[in-house]
Amino acid sequence: MVSWRLRTLDRKLMRDLWRLKFQALAIALVMACGISTYIMSMGTLHSLTETRDIYYDRYRFADVFAALKRAPLSVAERIADVPGVMTVYPRVVFGATLDMPGLDEPATARIISVPDMGEPPLNVVHLRRGRMLEPRETDAVLVGEAFAEKHNLNPGDRVTMVINGHKRTPMIAGIVLTPEYVFSIAPGGLMPDDKRFGVFWMSRQALEAAVNMDGAFNDLSLKLTHTAQVKNVLDAVDLELAPYGGLVAYERADQLSNWFLSGELDQLKVMATVSPAIFLSVAAFLLHIVLVRLIATEREQIGTLKALGYGNRAIALHYLKFIAVIALLGALMGAVAGYILGKNLTGLYASFYRFPMLTYEIVPRVFIEGALFCIIAGFSGTLVPVVRASRLPPAVAMRPAAPPSFRQTLVERLGLERWFSQPARIILRHLERRPVRFAFSVAGVGMALAIYVGSSFVVDALDYLLEVQYDITDRQDALVTFVETRGSRALEEVRGLPGVMRAEPGRMVAARLKAGPREERTSITGILPGGELQRVIDDKLRAVTPPESGLVLGRKLAELLEVRAGDPVEVEVLEDRRPKATLLVTAIVEGFIGARAFMDINALHRLMYEGPNVSAVAVSLDAREAAGFFAQLKESPLVASVLRTEAARKNFDETMGENMRTMTLFHIFFAGLIAFGVVYNTVRVAFSERSRELASLRVIGLTRGEVGYILLGEIGVVVLLALPIGCAGGYGVAAALSAALDTELYRIPTIVAPMTYAHAILVVVTATLISSWTVWRNIRHLDLVSVLKTRD
C-alpha cells in the first residue's frame, strides 16, 4: 500500500540519486570497503574455526602435552590414573638432521613415533598421498605435506637423515597432515620455513631402536574428560615427570601450532570489528553532509509536499529510502567484494595453515549483518536531519531559509587579516561557520592517512625488528645446536671447520622462573662476556654485559613476572640435575622475540654445577667457504639443527614480503577511497551550496582560477590540517596494534618510517587532486545566467 502510494515520490528519489550518482557511488564504495572487510574476515574466521574444530575433533588432537628426557612406559600408565585423564599417548619424539639436495646446510627434522600396529590414539595423521606405514615397517616414514611440497618429495622417494648419530635413508611411504602442525614452525623460528624444517613419522619400533628408547617415552599427549580440572592434571603430570627430566606440561592453548592459529583468528576478529567501524563511520559522515545539503536544496519541495497532504512519515521515509538505496548498494558491492576477498584470503591461509580441506564458506548471517550495518550506519548519520526535515512546519519550509550568518574569523578577531587576501578570508569564514563539518572533514581525511600509516607500519616495524635481531643481537651467520650438551671440545671442533672465522659457545637451559604467585616457563641463555655474536642490548640498542652473578630479563619476561631490576626471582632449571636458586634481577634488556632470560655464561655453568659445556655454538663464516662448512655439518652425528641467519632472513622477507605487497595495495586503495570520498563529497556539497555566490563572483569579474581558489582553497585547508593529524593518528593506530600484537612469542615495535608517512600523504594528496579536478570542471562550466535566475 505504502509503496504504491509513494510511486511518484520514488521516481523523484531515483532521479535525485541519478543526479548525485557520483557522490552516492563514492559513499557506497566507502561502505563497500568496510563491509567487504567484514564479510571477508568473518567468513574466513567462520571457515577457519569450523575447519579447525572438526579437524581437531576428528583427528583427536590432544588437550595436554609434555616433553621429558626419558621415562619408562609404566609412568604413562600411572598418569592414566590421574583424575580427568581420558587417554594417555606416550611417544618418542626426536630431532634429526636431513641432507636435502639443493640445500647447503642440513635441514632440521622432527621425528614422531607412531604405533607399530593401528592408528595412534591421539594426534592422528591424515593421509594426503601414498599410504600409511605397514605394521612393523621399519624402513619407511611418513612426511608432512609442507616439507614434501617444498622439496618435491613423492611416495617412493628416499631421504637421507642423521638420527642420533646414525645415518639412515628411509623410504617415504605417504605424505600426511596432522593437527599438531597445522602451522609448522621450527623451534626458535620466526616464520614457517618449510624448506628447512619438516615433520616425519616413523614406526615406534624403528624409532626406539634408533634412539635407544626401548620401553620408554620422551613425549606425552593426553586427552582429558570434559569435566577435568586442567590445572590439577598439569600439576599431577609435572609431579610424575619431574624425576624423568620432565619439562613443564602445557595445555592445548600453549601448543605452538594452535597458539599461532588462535592468534590469527583473534586478529581476524579485530579486523572484522575495527576496519568496518572506521569505514562505516566515514560513510555515515559523508551521508550526513550530502543529505543535509539535499534537504536544504529541497526545503521548499518539502513544504510543497506537505501542503499537498504528505505527512511527516512520508517525507522521512522518502529521505530514508534515499539513504537505504546507497547503503544497500554499498552492502551489495561489499558482499561481492567480500566474498571474492574471503575466498582469496582463505586460499592464502590454506598455504600457511595446513588443513585436510579448507574452503571459504558462505555464511548467510554475515551477509545479512553486513547489509544491516550499512543501513544502521547510513541512518545513524542521517536520522537527525531527516527527522528535522520531516518536522519542518510546511509554512516555514515554504519560506526560503534565512541567509547564513557569518562573523569575523578568529584570524580577523586577532587582527591578522592584513596577512590574508579577500578570497582567503572568504575561505576562512566558511570554514569557521561550520566548525563541526570542518572538523569532521579534517577527521575523515585524517582517517584515510591513519588507515594507511597504521596498517603499513608493520613493514617498517618488521624491518626494524630484523635489523635489531640479526645485526645487533644475534649476529652469528649460523647457530649450530647439538643433540646433547657437550664439553668445551665441541667448540674447538667447530672452530676447526672450514670457513669459521669466529666461534662462540652457546649455552641454553630450559627453566621455570617464579616471582611471587607468577610463574613462567622459559629458557636461560648464557652470554659470553665480551662476546661478539650473541649479545643483549638495552633500550638504546647498546650491548649490555651481564654481571658475573644474577639474572638479566628480557622486557617481556619482566612484564609477565612483574619484576624490576633488584627484585629476586626463583629459578628452577628443568634439565640435568634440575638445580634451584634464587637470583636477583640485575637488568632488564630489550628484545622483540620471545620472553627470555640471560646470564653470564660462567654464572650459568656454576648454577648448573658443570664445566664450560656448550649446547650450541654461534659462528661467523667466511662466505666463500660456507658451503664446505655446512657440508661437514650434514655428516655430523652430533648436530641437532643448524639455524642459518641469512636463510632465516630471506625466508622472512619472501614470506612477509609477498603478503605485505598485496596488503599495501589494499591499503592504498582503502585510504585513497576514503580520502576521495571525503574530499569529493565535501567539495561537491560546498559547490552546490555556493554556486550562486561563486557565479556572482564570476559576474563581478573574478576569473575561474580565482573562483576555483575560493572553493578548492577550503578543501586545501582541510587537507593541510588533516596531514599532521592523520599522521599522528596513524602512529596512534600503529601503537595500538603493537600493543594488541604484543605476545609472549614476539613483540612488534611501534616504528613508522618517514617513507611510510610520505606514501600516505602522497595517496591522500593524489585522491584530493583527482576529486578537486572533477569539481574544477564544473566551475569551468558554471552557468552564470541560469544560476543567478534561480533562487538556490
Binding site: L6, T8, K306, G309
Partner: protein, 234 residues
C-alpha cells in the same frame, strides 16, 4: 446554509528573536461554499498567515477555524495533514513544482494519495496542458508551470482552493490564462476559492474582496457581479 469556514477571533503571534510579531489580531469571517474571495493588502498585513492557517499549513495562536463543523486548531498534525490532503488545493506564486518530476508526475503526487481524484491527464487538460504532460518544469514557461500547479491543486477535487499570488511572477497575458483556469475550476466544481494578490484589478473577479491591514480585515466589499478573468486588465 452552513458556511464552509466559520472563523472566529483568529490570532497569530510569532516570536522573531526578541520581538513578538502579531501577524493576525482577531479575524472573524464566514465563507460560503463556492465563493471566490480575493484578499488584498500590503505586505505584512497578515494575508499569507491567514491563508496558511485556513489551509492547515500553520496553526493559530488563538481563535477558531471551523471547517465543515470541525475546529482546525484542535486537529493533530496527522489530522491536519489529512485535511490538506483531502480538502485543500494550494497554488503558490513560485509554482513549487518538484523539478525532477514531469508535469503529469507532479499531478500524480496528489492523485496517488487522495480518494476519488480526477485523473492527472484530465486535470492537466482542464488547464489546457493536455499536450505537455511529459515535460519537466524546466521545459515549461512560467504560465505553464503555474497551470501545472493549478492542475495539481484541483486534481483532488478540493473543497477549498487557496492561491497565494498566483500571477505574481507572470506577465499580463499569461496571468489572464492562469486566472481563467482558476475561475473555471471555481465555477465548474463550485470550489470555494481564496486568492491573495497585490493586484487590485483582480478584485473584479471576486464575489467578495477582503482588505487586510495590520493583521485585521480592515474592509470588506461585495461585488454585485463577477467580472470574467478575460475582462481583467492591469
Amino acid at each position: 446554509m452552513t458556511p464552509v469556514f466559520d472563523i472566529r477571533g483568529l490570532t497569530k503571534t510569532y516570536a522573531m528573536g526578541e520581538t513578538v510579531v502579531r501577524a493576525l489580531r482577531g479575524v472573524d469571517l464566514r465563507v460560503e461554499a463556492g465563493e471566490l474571495i480575493v484578499l488584498l493588502g500590503p505586505s505584512g498585513s497578515g494575508k499569507s498567515t491567514f491563508l496558511n492557517i485556513v489551509g492547515g499549513l500553520d496553526v493559530p495562536s488563538e481563535g477558531q477555524v471551523i471547517f465543515e463543523g470541525r475546529d482546525l486548531s484542535s486537529l493533530s498534525e496527522d489530522e491536519l495533514t489529512f485535511y490538506r490532503r483531502n480538502h485543500v488545493g494550494f497554488v503558490f506564486q513560485a509554482y513549487n513544482l518538484v523539478p525532477s518530476l514531469t508535469a503529469k508526475e507532479n499531478v500524480d503526487l496528489v492523485t496517488e494519495i487522495t480518494p476519488n481524484p480526477l485523473s492527472s491527464v484530465e486535470a492537466l487538460s482542464l488547464v489546457g496542458l493536455g499536450e505537455r504532460i511529459n515535460h519537466f518544469p524546466a521545459q515549461l514557461s512560467g504560465g505553464e508551470q503555474q497551470r501545472v500547479a493549478i492542475a495539481r491543486a484541483i486534481a483532488k477535487r478540493p473543497a477549498v482552493l487557496l492561491c497565494d499570488e498566483p500571477t505574481g511572477a507572470l506577465d499580463h497575458t499569461t496571468g489572464i490564462v492562469v486566472l481563467e483556469a482558476i475561475a473555471d475550476v471555481n465555477m465548474r466544481f463550485q470550489t470555494t476559492t481564496m486568492i491573495i494578490t497585490h493586484n487590485a484589478a483582480i478584485a473584479a473577479m471576486a464575489d467578495r474582496v477582503l482588505h487586510f491591514a495590520d493583521g485585521r480585515i480592515a474592509r470588506e466589499e461585495k461585488n454585485a457581479s463577477r467580472a470574467l478573468a478575460s475582462e481583467v486588465t492591469w
